[in-house]
Structure formats: C-alpha cells, structure tokens
Subunit: 240 residues, 2 copies
Amino acid sequence: MMARRSQGLSERHRKILDFLTRFQEENGYSPSIREIGDSINVKSTSLVDYYLNQLEQMGFISRDNRVSRSIRVLEPAERLLNRAVNTVRQAGRQLDDIIPIPVLGRIVASEPIPVPPSDLAYFDPDYSVEIARSLLPTRERPEDLFALEVQGDSMIDAMVNDGDTVILRRAQEANNGDMVAVWLDDRDETTLKYFYKEKDRVRLQPANPTMGPIYVENPASLRIMGKVVMVIRQVKSVAA
Amino acid sequence: MMARRSQGLSERHRKILDFLTRFQEENGYSPSIREIGDSINVKSTSLVDYYLNQLEQMGFISRDNRVSRSIRVLEPAERLLNRAVNTVRQAGRQLDDIIPIPVLGRIVASEPIPVPPSDLAYFDPDYSVEIARSLLPTRERPEDLFALEVQGDSMIDAMVNDGDTVILRRAQEANNGDMVAVWLDDRDETTLKYFYKEKDRVRLQPANPTMGPIYVENPASLRIMGKVVMVIRQVKSVAA
DNA sequence: ATAATACACGAACAATTGTTCTGTGTCAAT
DNA sequence: ATTGACACAGAACAATTGTTCGTGTATTAT
C-alpha cells in the first residue's frame, strides 16, 4: 500500500472516516481498532492506531485514552476547535521538555544590544527558538533566557558566524571564564568575549585562540548585557 | 435497597436510563457496565447486568453480545419493534425451556390406562405435546411426565371433555387433594378424581361440585396410575 | 550513499470489560 | 415452617480491546 506523504487526507484516511460513520450509523456505537483494521485490510492494530492518531491530530476524530469504542467523528464545526485543543495539549505535554526562548532581535557589532526588558514576558519577540531542556544546565531558569540572532561576520573571533543564534541569560555582572555579551563605550561596539577580571582591568578574550585579547581599563565603560549560554548554528548544506 | 416486585420501571431502571442518555450525550459513547454500577451505587457487575437484561426485555435498550459499550437507548418508536424481536428470539433460545411430553395413548372410562413403562424414554409415543417449562412447577422432572388423550364424555364430572389432553406424573400413591387417574377394579373403569384418604376408606371427589363422591372401601381395588399435572383443552371454534 | 521519514506487520502485554457462578438475605405465598 | 422468586454482592473467568515495542521496507531528502 503506502500512499500519503506529509499532509492531507489520504485514501486510507477517507476510508476510515467513511467506515466510522457507517458503522456508527448501523450499530449505534463505534468500531474497535481491529474492526477498523478489517474494514480497510490492515493487519496490524498498531497501524490503525497510527492512522487514528493522524486523524485525531487533524481534528477529524477524537477519542479517549484506554476506553474501548470511544472514537467520535467530529463535525467540521468541531474540527477547528478540537484541532486547536490538540495542539495546545501536545505543546503542554512537552512544556517540561522543550522550552521556547524568545528571539529579541539582532546583535550587530556596531550597535548596542536591544535592551532586554526586566520582564521578558512582556516583550514581543520576533520569534522563538525551541531548546530541549536537556541541553541546558538543570538549574537554568527559562524566564531569564533570551536569544539574539547574529548579523555580520564581526564576531568570528568568538567563533560565532553570521546567522548564528546566541542564547543569553540576563546578567549585569560576570565571573571569570564566563562568555559574555558586552557593550564597549569607548569603542562603540558590541562583542562576545570570555570575561576575566584582573587586578585593575578586565581582559576580554576571544574564543579564537589565534587572536589577542582586549583590555578594558575603565570598568565603567564596559556594560555586560548577558552571559552566553549557548550558540546555535543551523548549518545548511549549500546547494552546489 | 430492593424495590421492584414484578413489573414496571423501578427507580433503578429510571436512573440507569437517565445515566445512559446523559453519558451518551457527554461522551459520545455508552458507558461500561462498571461505570453504570458506579453511577447508581451498585457494587456488582452482575446486578447491573441483571437490570440491563430487564431493560432490554422491556425494550428500552438494546445491546450486542460481548461487545463493550454497545448499549443503545431506544426511542419509543423502536421500543415496540424491539420488544417483539426479543420475545421471538427468547422463544427460540428457550428450546430448553420447552419440554415435549409424550402422548402415550387414549384414556377411556371403560378401559384401563395404557401402562406407562417404568422408563418412559423407551416408549414410542403416539405424538407429543409441548409444554412451556414455565407452566410447570419448577421442580417437576420432565422424565416423569406423560400425557393421555381423553376419549369420550365420561369424564365430564372431572371437568374434562372429549378430546382434552391430560398430563400426568407417574405415581403409585397420592396425597390428599391430589387429582389422580385411577383404575377401579370393582367398577372396571378409569376415572379422574380428587383423592382424599379418610379413616378406613378413600373418597374420590369429582371436580364438578354438583356431583357426589365415590367411596372406595378396599384400598387394594384402587390403582393410582398417576397424578394429574395439567389438563389441556385446545378449543376450536366450530364453524357454524 | 546515507540518513531521516513515512508506512507497515506482528506479537506481546496490560486494561478494560462482559459473562457466569456461588452465596446471602428478604419477602410473599403456601 | 418451608419454598420459591427476587434483589444483591463478590469473585473468578474469558474475551475484547487499546497500547507499545521491535523490526522491516520503501520513499525522500541530504
């Protein structure tokens, strides 16, 4: 068999829906998974389940967990609502595992970082990047995180390319060894560097070991915008 | 609890019907037996089944064998039809509840009763009459029963007409008040009478109260052939 | 070529669920 | 007082049924 690729209603889906309404009409209750399988010549219950999940996802039917014969065929009217519900529920199910991080803007060397408001929740993000919680330190509080999209090659000394997404945690200060996003007053420049406090100055070390550090004598002219938590590079293979 | 005696819809029945429609309305499918039990505070599934059978009998619901959640609540319109269907089906199912009774011959006043052999099973009956088990006392053992066809009007004193079928149970003795078929040696006659043992004689009382009893002084001259269990008269309307 | 995705089977499993059997108590009639 | 019909509980059983897992194959994308 095999038909459907990606989206829309395949022949199978239609047949199942037909059978559901017909069976319902004739018997007053819904068929079991095996009865559905028989009607469309599918041998395995798992495959029927597979299709039913798709139909449920698309909002054509709804059913209850571990309840036999609980399939309901939804009317077009109900469909949209149910679809939304499903989406929300699914998102909710993964809320613990995947956290959305708002992308607040672009980071360009020659411009200051867009100021992250104290309450990130009220800031309307351009979009958001989804990060598996497992990729973050367990104690990282999602509310303190925001993301920026790097524009230009000016941060190659931090091993950050044009188009990369940088995830930061709001912070006004840093510990030695932290990679931070800083605005340098005297240079009028934003940059990503490893932060090291020395006796009477601050050393900003590029990630790229072949490049030399920057020394900032006046601590006041250095404004830490956040600590870098992660850099994400979605590498696309370039069609030749 | 305990409510219903004999017929009609009890409180329980109504509650179940209510719950069925409500559950149906809310979930789009029917509840399981246990869910019904919970709703009416009944602990055992068997009792719920018991009630459901009654409701089915009365035509309020219908359900399919061994199919979960297959209960349908029937509309008044469907009810009659379904009730009839149930009755017919039950009649068929009750083959065990209809017992054939062999008709061993005729009973004539002037002749002795055809001897019922000790094992009725080996006696080739003229034909047989079918009796619903429900018409008999529950403990009546079908193997002990046989039937005779009355010939002649000589038993009108027992309210038995020509052509009636009498069903008897084999017996050599009788209790007071039993209607028995007896052969009277001294009269050379078979008759049906109520049996009453008195001090030193036996009184045989006709069913017809306007007629007088027979007294038998010698118990040996009275041979009880069986107790009358039933008299069947198939009344045919006589074409004028 | 390789990986990822979609489609498919089958079996084993665990829950749910309908059925049946045994026993108990009550009520009405004999 | 005994019997039989009725109302009920509980457990054990067997069937139905939803879920999941391992595996395999084809198709598409990289």
